[in-house]
Amino acid sequence: MAVYIADGGEGTIVAKITGEIDHHTARWLRMDIDTAIQDRNPKKLLIDFSGVSFMDSSGVGLVMGRYKNMKERGGKVALTNMPDYIEKVMNLAGMDRLLNGR
């Protein structure tokens, strides 16, 4: 499990997560993403799930927390490259509306 932070241009940072997202790993991912938000103060956080091999509802909590964090700073969150099984979990919370910035 790791998260790679990259500059996406126009005030966007891309957080590419790899490996498994569960309650055990979510706390480390949360810390790394929040540090990047604090350091770079982006307008938009794009979370890339292309490297994620498993996710349970802890991933939904991770996205909800970052959404709240970015909203407080006047920013946005978008999700991209979600495999079907991750979208299925996100759909339960209505988080699919964040897919590709919708």
Partner: protein, 144 residues
Amino acid sequence: MKKPQNEMKMSFLSLSENERLARVAIGGFVSSKNPRIDELTDLKTAVSEAVTNCIVHAYRDTVGVIEMTARLTDDCVYIKIRDRGCGIEDVKKAMEPLYTTLPDEERSGLGFSVMESFTDSIAVKSRLGYGTTVVMTKKLRSKI
């Protein structure tokens, strides 16, 4: 339930690193049936949610034992996950989508919703001070 063709029972401590252990174990257990990838992912996700509930809620501020029993018939898997933790006061309320007692810890309140959506049946029994038992079943529809 039909007579099981295979059965396993394991117990492990309520440590968060064991969420993965439980997923890997259930994946290995059903692999003899050549399940579809989506069926396997559904099972792993449901087990992960049940075990996480034991760690986060049942044994909050303590470490206890989680028991997982699985049985396999010709076309169905039965999974029982049991803890002897604090128990749930109101199971019906706990199963409501997005209901959580721990919003500050970024729990989404979707654990039971995921278990319900990703399996064919779920039964939850709980008694305050004695623990909780979750039983889930899922049909394995295809064989290669």
